[in-house]
């Protein structure tokens, strides 16, 4: 038998049939559902008089539209409200488990899947959301689908798919202190570009990736889509299995032992062939800040805003000029002098407990700078919020002048009330810096949680490790 990649193994174990035209019918083990991309899928089912193939394969939660303040008062925006209520009704009518807005388990769909053990190694998982790649961190084949496919999976638990090519991104060696998973993935996208992974399923490997916690690995695979790859994945190892153990939907008892044995096979075999390989040296990666309107427009914190005149590719040059104009930046300005107006810590990229801790570590004993008009922390789920509060992290943030909010997507895409005003500059831990993403005219700079926290307390971009070295006050208590 020839050596297989992780992706090959996931694909092969889910192929129901091969069609003559090179596509396959692929079995989907799990579908996660949220309010924005599902109403028309349920409507389609009703119109065709179809039922879900197996109800228990689905799990739903509202996240994009939910308010992050005053939950008890419900949703003020009537259109958002209808969308969330439609999800409630659809889940109720079809018998699908849903963590509603008032449930402690509610949160961003890509946070709650892993948190509940609904995301498991070796499975296929889809969601009507491009950041479904997040779940690939578990050695899972996970990808975003459109609403028609949400309906298709509801009705059949299958999708007609064409296999992607295999791409390996290996990050060798060890990270410098203060450099995080977010910096790795931004650096990767900076190198391969936002279309670098188009047509590929990316496997992230190498010592630096293996050394990451599951939270860090999810940050990496979350942004595979920003590199153009529908799926990004990481091999199963002890870290994966430890994380999954004991989760609500994880196998128990005899099934647990059986599952662990089965999962251990989900890694690329020695000598497996990849269609494309990219190799990075972890020790060369610096903390990153994006400067433009595409995640590939990223630089190290000690660098200057690049000059479009130096770019030879004409289309890229125009893109850079437009980005500088939109972002209100001038070529040659050092990024670490750039003041920020708003700080957002949250999103499915960076709203897990470890992200909360990393940010709190920088914030502890400091204050949000005077020029920062708003600093928000939005935990990824109700359970993370609860955990963070148990650790006293909320107090650290609140004392510094941050707002401590209810879980949801929030200012990641500004579908609820949390949004930037035109021209506001934001240090954000989210994953997209497209024009208008966080509010029309808003300017987004993507950074890690530590870097966002550092920007909040100094009022401008700065290498967070400089702050970590000279702590605000007594750094007591361990934050392991």
């Amino acid at each position: 038998m020839s050596a297989k990649t992780l992706y090959d193994k996931l694909w092969d174990s889910h192929e129901v049939r091969k069609n003559d035209d090179g596509t396959s019918l692929l079995y989907i083990d799990r579908q996660l559902i949220h309010e924005v991309t599902s109403p028309q899928a349920f409507e389609g089912l009703r119109l065709a008089n179809r039922k879900p193939w197996r109800v228990s394969a689905n799990l739903a939660t509202p996240d994009h539209n939910v308010p992050t303040t005053n939950r008890a008062e419900g949703i003020a925006d009537p259109i958002s409200k209808i969308q969330v209520e439609t999800l409630d009704k659809n889940c109720h009518d079809f018998g699908i488990t849903e963590f509603r807005m008032d449930d402690i388990r509610q949160g961003i769909v890509h946070v709650i899947g892993p948190e509940q053990g609904a995301t498991l190694p070796g499975m296929t998982l889809v969601c009507g959301d491009s950041h479904t790649s997040t779940h690939g961190a578990f050695g899972t084949l996970a990808f975003g689908v459109g609403t028609s496919e949400v309906e298709h999976v509801l009705a059949t638990l299958c999708l007609i798919q064409k296999k992607s090519k295999n791409m390996l991104v290996r990050v060798d060696g060890q990270l410098k202190p203060g450099v995080t998973a977010k910096d790795i993935i931004l650096a990767i996208i900076g190198i391969i570009g936002t279309a670098g992974g188009t047509g590929y399923a990316i496997e992230f490997a190498g010592e630096a990736i293996r050394s990451l916690s599951m939270e860090g690995r999810m940050t990496i695979s979350n942004m595979a889509i920003e590199a153009g790859a529908r799926a990004g994945m990481i091999a199963v190892d002890d870290t994966t299995i430890e994380y999954v153990k004991g989760k609500t939907y994880a196998p128990k008892g005899g099934q647990w032992e059986m599952a662990v044995q089965y999962w251990k096979n989900f890694h690329s075999d020695e000598g497996a062939d990849f269609d494309k390989e990219v190799i990075l040296d972890a020790s060369c990666i610096e903390p990153q800040v994006t400067w433009g309107t595409s995640p590939e427009m990223t630089i190290a914190i000690n660098e200057r805003i690049p000059d479009p005149q130096q770019e030879s590719d004409a289309v890229k040059k125009e893109g850079m000029k437009a980005a500088l104009k939109y972002m209100g930046l001038e070529a040659g300005t050092p990024i670490n002098e750039m003041p920020v107006d708003v700080v957002f810590i949250g999103s499915c990229t960076n709203s897990r407990i470890e992200d909360m801790r990393a940010a709190a570590e920088i914030v502890r004993g400091r204050k949000v700078a005077d020029n920062v008009q708003q600093a928000l922390v939005v935990p990824g789920s109700g359970l993370i919020k609860q955990q963070a509060e148990a650790e006293g992290l909320d107090k650290i943030f609140k004392e510094a002048g941050f707002e401590w909010r209810e879980p949801g997507c929030s200012m990641c895409l500004a579908m609820n009330a949390d949004r930037l005003e035109p021209g506001q500059r934001c240090a954000s831990t989210s994953n997209r810096n497209f024009e208008g993403r966080q509010g029309q005219g808003g300017r987004t700079h993507l950074v890690s949680p530590a870097m966002a926290a550092a920007a909040a307390v100094t009022g401008h971009f700065i290498d967070a490790s400089q702050l970590a070295a000279t702590s605000g006050s007594d750094v007591s208590g361990s934050t392991v």
């Binding site: 019918l25 498991l120 491009s130 028609s148 936002t194």
Partner: protein, 213 residues
């Protein structure tokens, strides 16, 4: 799904690369629970000078005269020309819904983002990938000839025009077949229900935990 066989229409050249789904249909319009009605808000932030919100009367809003879709010569266009990585960003099917609702049936670009490309076929939209030089040729042709119609023939897999232009394009057979026939993919899959059940029976022995109720 609406069939696609042949179309003769004006093509509008959108001179941008990396057109993302937020640009195609801004998020405030995703709150709709319907599939239709997104056309007036297609490219909302580029098309209008004010800020659009759901429920507005779009016919009264100030248009951005510089935006190509608003130019009189491109009114009624059903073919969109664009550059690399069209449709990148989110998985929202609202993007093809908005294009379709506006009247666009064909998009021609050197490359598309995967999920968007896939979503097009579910909605009777034909995305055509052509080499950059040929897309460039089409841009120039369309800009130089006001009122020129391109004819896209899916049976023949050709793009032609009165100027003598003839371009062949490729498309995978399954997708072409579904578009030509306007097939319901779910129905096609359900025709294999037995095989799905057999697969499940086999998997229940290998990964029983995935079938716990």
């Amino acid at each position: 799904m609406e069939k696609f066989t042949k179309l003769s229409a004006i093509a509008v050249p959108l001179d941008r690369a990396n057109v993302d789904t937020d640009a195609i249909i801004p998020k405030q319009f995703l709150k709709s629970i319907k599939r239709s009605g997104f056309g007036p808000n297609l490219f909302d932030e580029w098309r209008y000078l004010d800020h659009g919100e759901p429920g507005m009367d779009n016919s009264n809003r100030p248009l951005n005269p510089d935006f190509v879709l608003n130019q009189p010569r491109y009114q009624g266009a059903q073919i969109l020309l664009a550059w690399d990585n069209f449709g990148c960003g989110s998985s929202r099917e609202h993007a093809p819904w908005a294009l379709e609702d506006y009247g666009i049936r064909v998009i021609i670009a050197p490359s598309f983002a995967d999920i968007f490309y896939n979503n097009c076929f579910k909605n009777g939209l034909l995305p055509i990938v052509l080499p950059e030089e040929i897309v460039d040729e089409l841009f120039k042709l369309v800009e130089a000839n006001e009122g020129l119609k391109l004819t896209v023939d899916l049976e023949q897999k050709t793009i032609t025009a009165d100027t003598g232009l003839k371009i062949n394009f490729e498309l995978d057979e399954f997708r072409r077949h579904c578009l030509l026939e306007g097939l319901d993919e779910i129905g096609l899959t359900l025709a294999h229900a037995d095989e799905i059940c057999q697969y499940e029976e086999k998997q229940k022995k290998i990964t029983p935990w995935l079938f716990n109720e």
